[in-house]
């Protein structure tokens, strides 16, 4: 993928094209795998049924069948809808999702762009999806869609704060915003002088990890935080007027964002692509092993998100806001304080 890896000198546009295509393939494969694994099978087994079994061996091609169905459907919009904004909204949401993957490293050389502000960039572009959701809700000319969009706006803003504050604990520990630096800090680190497993921050920043995963659940608007698309109250919230390919875009974006946040969480807290430095593997080996490691960790974390989704009932709106402002934010602030004190003291 990188010039270093292949021993080739590539022009900038060539390496850019390769990076983009490789990134897109990786993201779409992972997203499709997650949909099949969790949405089709995992939940079916939890509910004592088999799930899709007809399309392909063990129902594995079901997703392609669904995509084909959506692509054939008519592209409908309401009479009063603001056509331009209505069409732009899914694109804004999807680009916010794809932009998140740009900085997530999958190996020593395998990263689309190794930005100095890595994790801060991820938080910034993930915040853009709110804009698309508000656009969708308003342009649909439907009161349920507008209600859903407003709920989503309030929820996503409320849970962005604990997410940013939880990440700060990791940033203080690693001393960098760059995701490669954070990975390196975990691989090179040691816990009380023991360097056998490095210092995966899930052990030393467990509070931050818990707060981050709860905030991720809310940012993804997965149950128990799914008021924006609550089917019993709002039909489908901001997605209610979308059909066919535009709905498909929302669907892809929902699950790709889950993969993105899980990949970020595995990079921040589970050591990312790296194995502890004390194990002594070379860069060449890690360029092959790294993507497998980070993808496995990300898929496992998406599993946690979906396990929660299928296990809990929906919160009430006031409970949701109270959880963010009165519990998660104070806990995350206290975590930063304690982390900073420990960082200075030791």
């Amino acid at each position: 993928m990188s010039p270093v890896l292949l021993g080739l000198e590539l022009a900038f546009w060539q390496s850019t094209v390769i990076r983009v295509i490789a990134g897109l393939v990786a993201v779409l494969l992972l997203t499709g795998g997650v949909v099949y694994l969790y949405l089709f099978k995992f939940v079916s087994f939890m509910q004592s049924r088999l799930g899709p079994m007809e399309a392909g061996p063990y129902g594995s091609l079901q997703l392609l069948a669904e995509v084909g169905k959506w692509l054939q459907k008519e592209d409908i919009h309401t009479e009063d809808s603001d056509r331009l904004i209505f069409g732009l909204a899914p694109a804004v949401v999807l680009s916010s999702t794809f932009l998140m993957f740009v900085v997530i490293p999958a190996g020593p050389d395998l990263v689309i762009a190794n930005l100095g502000t890595g994790i801060y960039y991820v938080l910034a572009v993930s915040a853009l999806s709110v804009l698309g959701i508000l656009m969708a809700g308003w342009a649909s000319a439907n009161k349920y869609a507008l209600m859903g969009a407003l709920r989503a706006g309030g929820q996503l803003i409320a849970y962005e704060l604990p997410m940013v504050l939880a990440v700060l604990g990791v940033v203080v520990m690693a001393g960098s915003l760059n995701l490669q630096d954070i990975v390196a800090a975990q691989a090179n680190g040691e816990i009380f002088g023991i360097s056998a497993i490095g210092n995966p921050y899930i052990l030393t920043q467990f509070v931050a990890f818990a707060v981050f995963m709860i905030a991720v659940q809310a940012e993804l608007t997965q149950t128990p935080f799914d008021m924006p698309i609550a089917e019993s109250e709002l039909v489908a919230g901001y997605q209610v007027e979308y059909s066919g390919i535009r709905f498909l875009v929302y669907f892809i974006s929902e699950f790709a964002t889950a993969v993105a946040f899980a990949a970020v969480a595995s990079t921040l807290f589970l050591g990312g692509w790296a194995l502890p430095t004390s194990w002594g593997l070379s860069n060449g080996v890690m360029n092959v092993l790294g993507p497998i490691l980070v993808a496995t960790k990300a898929v496992l974390l998406v599993g946690v998100v979906f396990w929660t989704r299928f296990s809990f009932p929906r919160f009430r709106e006031d409970q949701l806001q109270r959880l963010a402002w009165k519990f998660l934010i104070p806990i995350a602030l206290a975590n930063i304080l304690v982390t900073a004190v420990f960082k200075v003291a030791f």
Binding site: S2, V4, D80, S81, D82, I85, P108, D109, A113, N114, L115, G116, T117, Y120, Y121, L123, A124, V125, A127, L128, V130, L131, L134, M135, G137, W138, A139, A141, L146, A149, L150, G153, G154, I157, E160, S176, L177, N178, L179, Q180, D181, V183, A184, A187, N188, A274, L275, T277, G280, L281, S282, N283, M286
Partner: protein, 194 residues
């Protein structure tokens, strides 16, 4: 950020950066004009997104990566969303509205010109003929040997910014924070008279 402004260095004229800026400037001016001329208040807020997003790219061109991300996170991710949220919570008419105009055009124009003069004067007085030394952004090359000694790119600039805010300009920064907190409390007091 003064470290970035190498005053006497042999500055190269960066063609891609200048072309990007020219295209961006035109786009931002058009979008800014549409903010005040559009007949739909939600469209006005969305045109403002284009202006603020262009601003973020300008910061990127100036190699202020952290500031650009802050612009995205704070202005588009929070402030515009609050605008839209407020508009949609109260009234969000689709189509054209006729009551968006008022009789303060000349006053607005005067304030605009005044702002332009003040900002232009202070910028030219502060930097004068200083030129930004464009440094090609380099991805860190993989290091042979140790498995995970990578990264470290661009950290210096963020650190320089942190030093400016939390060392050189600590007191103005804290004063602004107190001012904003005061404004916030004042807004709550005004909104909740009960």
């Amino acid at each position: 950020m003064s470290g970035l402004l190498a005053a006497e260095s042999a500055t190269t004229f960066d063609v891609p950066a200048n072309v990007t800026f020219a295209v961006l400037a035109v786009l931002m001016v058009v979008a800014a004009i549409r903010v005040v001329t559009t007949r739909n208040i939600v469209h006005a807020a969305l045109w403002l997104v284009v202006v603020l997003g262009g601003n973020a790219v300008v910061y990127l061109l100036l190699q202020a990566e952290f500031v650009a991300m802050t612009q995205l996170l704070v202005y588009i991710g929070a402030i515009i969303v609050l605008f839209l949220f407020g508009i949609m919570l109260t009234r969000a008419p689709l189509g054209k509205a006729s009551d968006l105009d008022n009789n303060q055009r000349w006053l607005g124009a005067a304030v605009g010109v005044l702002l332009l003069v003040v900002i232009g004067f202070s910028v030219t007085r502060t930097w004068g003929n200083d030129r930004l030394d464009f440094v090609a952004y380099e991805l860190p090359a993989a290091t042979a040997g140790a498995a995970v000694e990578v990264g470290g790119s661009g950290n210096g600039r963020t650190q320089a910014l942190a030093n400016s805010i939390f060392v050189d300009y600590l007191i103005p920064f804290e004063v602004v924070s107190v001012l904003l907190t005061g404004a916030l409390i004042g807004a709550i007091v005004l909104a909740r008279r009960d």
